[in-house]
Structures are given as C-alpha cells and as structure tokens.
C-alpha cells in the first residue's frame, strides 16, 4: 500500500509538472490541480498508514486506544483542500479573463510583460 501511494504521488507530481510546462494555460490549471492533489496524498502517506480505529478517547480514559490513526495529517489535508479549492477557483477565473484579453491559450503569446 505504501509503495502504491508512493508511486501515485510521484505520478501525480510528474504529470502535474509535465502539464505545467506545456504551452496551454488550460493544461496549466490541470497541472496545478494534479500537483496539489499529489501534495495532499504525500501528507496522507507521510503521516503513516495503519489499519486502525478512529482516535477517539473513551470516557474516563486519558489517551485513545492503540492502535489509532493519526488525526493531524487528515486535518492538514482538509485545510489544504479548502485552500486549494479557493485558489483553483480564482485561477480558473484568471485564466478565462486572460484568455479573453490575449485571445489565445498559448503561453508563448503571453509576452507583453517580458520587456
């Protein structure tokens, strides 16, 4: 399972970077989405994969029963997903506005600010 997740994360990062360096701004968005998914899965995997129960503390106990899943990576991913959602929504609007202003989705034409 660990290996599978590692390969998946690597694949997502590679595909994301590949799409980002393509010339189309639509593929750029796809690439960024894959990249953020890759990062989220990486957090999930690096938190440790255990077949265990929820980290709930029984009444009267001081610590959850072992083995339990680590809740912190999941909280991190949840936060990152929400932030990523907002950023991606903005990015899509930005790209559509840029497409209308420049008239093409080819990043080679986005040279107005380079000189």
């Amino acid at each position: 399972m660990k290996l599978l997740l590692a390969l998946l994360v690597g694949g997502l990062f590679a595909a994301g970077m590949y799409l980002i360096v393509r010339r189309s701004i639509v593929k750029l968005i796809m690439g960024l989405i894959l990249l953020s998914h890759g990062a989220n899965l990486l957090i999930f995997a690096s938190g440790g994969l255990v077949r265990a129960q929820a980290p709930l503390v029984e009444a009267g106990a001081l610590a959850p029963e072992q083995p339990h899943a680590d809740p912190v990576p999941q909280a991190l991913i949840l936060t990152a997903i929400v932030i990523g959602f907002g950023v991606m929504a903005f990015m899509m609007v930005l790209v559509s506005r840029a497409y209308r202003a420049v008239g093409t989705d080819d990043t080679e034409e986005f040279t107005g600010t380079d000189h």
Partner: protein
Amino acid sequence: MSALPILPVLIPLGTACLGMLGHRSLRAQQTVSVAGAVALVVVAVALLARTATGEILTLDAGGWSAPFGITFVADAFGAIMVLLAAVTGLAVVVYSVASVDLPRKRFLYYPLTHVLLAGVCGAFLTGDIFNLYVCFEILLLSSFVLLSLGSERGQLEGAIKYVTLNLISSAIFLSASGLLYGTLGTLNMAHLSVRAAEAVAEGRGHVVTIVAMLFMVSFGIKAAVFPLFFWLPASYHTPPFAVSALFAGLLTKVGVYAIVRVFTLIFVHDTGYTHTILLWVAALTMVSGVLGAAAQTEFRRVLSFHIISQIGYMILGVALLTPLAVAGTVFYIVHHIVVKANLFLVAGVAHRIRGTSDLSRPGRVGVYASAPMVALLFMVPAMSLAGVPPLSGFWAKLILIRAALDERAFVYVAVALLVGMMTLFSMTKIWAEAFWKSPGAGEGGAPGETAPRTPAGMLAPIAVLAAITAGIGLGARPVFEFSVLAAGQLLDPEVYVVAVLGEAFATPVEGVEP
C-alpha cells in the same frame, strides 16, 4: 501570556471585515482602512517595546498548550518585521487614497490590502509551520486578487506567471510540511527544533536535510532568489503603483523571513551543506539581479530587479550564520523594506508627472524642473539603496561586509561591494533619465503642457518613509543594537524553545507525544 502577539493579525482582519460591510460607501471604507492601519502601527510599536527587553511573548491559541495547540510567538525579529509591515501598510493605504482609481477601490481594494497585511503579520508571528503555510496562502490569495484587479492585459499576463510560480512553491511547501511531520512528528517550530536535534543525534540527519532543501526551494521561490526569481520582474510592474509598493516592500521579505526562521531555528545541523548552498545562492542572486536591472528601461522593472539583488544581501547574512552577519540581515531587512516601498511610491509620482514610466522616452516634463521636491525625495531612498553614507543602506551593507570579512569570505565581500556600485549606476540612470532630463524641443507632449500637481496624500507617505530612512542612517545605533538582540535570539534556538515549550525542554529530552 498576553493577547498582544495575535492582535497584529486580528486588527487587519477586523478592518477588512468592517471595510467589506461598508463597501457601499467609499468614504467609510477609506476612514476604516486608515484607522485600521494606524491601529496596527500602534499595536506593532507596543509589541516592539515589549520584545525590545529581550522577552519572547507567546500565546497558545484556544488554551491548548504547546506543542499541541497553535502557538503565536513574538520575538525581537518577528516584532520588528510586524512593525515594518505596519508602517509600510499605513504608508501604502494613505498613498492609495489619492492614487488608486475608483473602480479598483469599489472592488474592495482596501479590505484586500488589509487581508494581505493580516497574512503577512501572521507569517511573522506564528510559531507553527503549518500555520505559516496558511498565512502564506492568505497573503498570496489577496495578492493574487490585488495583482489582477483591473484586468488589464499586462496585469493578467503578469498575474498568471506570478500565480503559477507561487502555487508551485506552495505545493512544495505543503509537501515539505507533510514530510517534516512524518519525520519528526510535530509541526510546532520550537518542538521541531528539539526533535530535529534528536533526529540528527539518532543518525536520521540526512532525512532532515532533504526536507530542509525542499523548504529552501519553496521559500526561495517566494523570496525570489537565484535561480527562482523570474516571476517577480514579470509581474511587479503591472498593478497600480501603491500595490507594487506593498508587494515590493513586504512579500519577498516574508520569504526571506521564513528562510531566516527555519535555517536558524530548525535546520542548523548540516550547515556545511545547507548554508554553503545559501551562500552561493546569495552571491548569484546579488549579481543576477543587478545585471538584470542594468538591461531594463522601465522604471519599475529596474526597481524589481533591484529587489532581487538586495535579497541576495539578506541571504548572505543567514548563510554566514555569525552573530554579526545575522544582525546584518535583520538591519538590512529593516532598511530595505522602507526604502523599496518608498522607491515604488516615488515611481508612481514620477509616472504621474512625466506621463510615462519608460526611461528611454522623454516624458512630458522633467521631474526635477517641475517638482524638485519629488526629485529630492527620490534621492534619499535611491542613494540609501546603493549604500551611500550616511543613509540606512550604508550601515546595512557595512555590517554585512564586516561580518563577511571576519569570516574571511573575501569573494562575497567583493561581490557585495561590486553590486553596491552597480546599484548606484542603476539609480543614477533613473535619476538622469526620469528626473534630471527635460524633454527637448519637438519631444515629449504638447508645448505648454504642465504636469499635474501631486496631491499631498501621495507626497506625505513618501516624505515620512524618506525621513525614516534618513533617521535610521543618522541614528543607526539603536537599530543596530536591536538587530544584535534579534540575532542573538535567532542564533540561540534554546531561548525560543524555552519561551514556547517551557523549561522542560531546556535541554533536549524525550518529547511528550508517543
């Protein structure tokens, strides 16, 4: 424990909310905005006064004790950064009242500015690496909107580059935070410092170093160091001048702050590797920035490349990692934020007077001929940037060069001096083309055309910032002493650890968590 360390985050956020509630009335927005910015400066001064004694203030949010809850920490370095952010914020808000156009203001320009300030102050005060990520995202999102607000073609093109590079940086940051948690089992920065030392003692130092390099790349993109700076000169000259000034003063410095923080607190075990890379990065950043500037003919693009070369000086101090060098970095950041924001504000006034920001074309009138006061106000930050005594930039460079000499890093001394000289060249180029030259016969605008009068609301922030620059230059001693205090705290992670986690962590012991 006091609420002081979180107030610099809450005040701009509250101001932004009030501004949004009153979005129908521009006057109300402006009043709230200026009042909020003043309040932020007052709180920042109070925070600085508390930390100037060497005290480190901490606040555990929600009463969850560190390292389990989210901690806010204000040490000397964090406090001075907050004050600089507050002063820049106030200057930019006042400048915006007279300079930013009405459609932008109606589209929540002021609330966005304050959200940006909240993110910046949060990044300076948080004691939690994941919270740092969240603060980065807050300031990035509002900077995205501020950058593209107005939807001019140049803005949109610049914004796409800026947003893409920053999102890649964020993805790397997020991955690095995840790996760090997987390796060390905590996210609290003080706790990370302790755990990293333990991990190195257990022979897992190489994993920590790998994660450190991920952080270096991520923060390097945000700080615009060589070779990761290309988004900066592609975007900083496109938005309104007030927005450029805010970005130029604060955003890259948040990246520098993050580098200084993690490479003095957490990743200090393999300095022969990490800090040598930083040293190279510093030199190459200085050189590539200043050479890039020499090739530019647009006012703000010249200044943008100079941001990059100046970042190199700041990184140089961290890379050397001696008390004097780190004090030099702190001093340099103090000097640089004020000067750089001011130069962009002056660029706005010059643009208004000349009718163009292109240095290769004659403007409608010479700035010196029509507004000698403005030209003089440009000279103060420009000469300070180049390091002419007795202005602030001279002392900043002097401390760093002295620190490099002590370490016998002569190559870096030579680079720093050379880059300073070439900065002077760039500044004189701007002076000659934009300020000194008057359009000759048959050039420029229609005959008899006069420059618009510059509103006092634009001149006042410039004058105040120039006075601060001159003040730091003439009264460098207190600032230097404060920088030494901040550097002392930065170089002794134990002070920070004890302030956050308590005496139990004074010497590395087994952590509380399983």
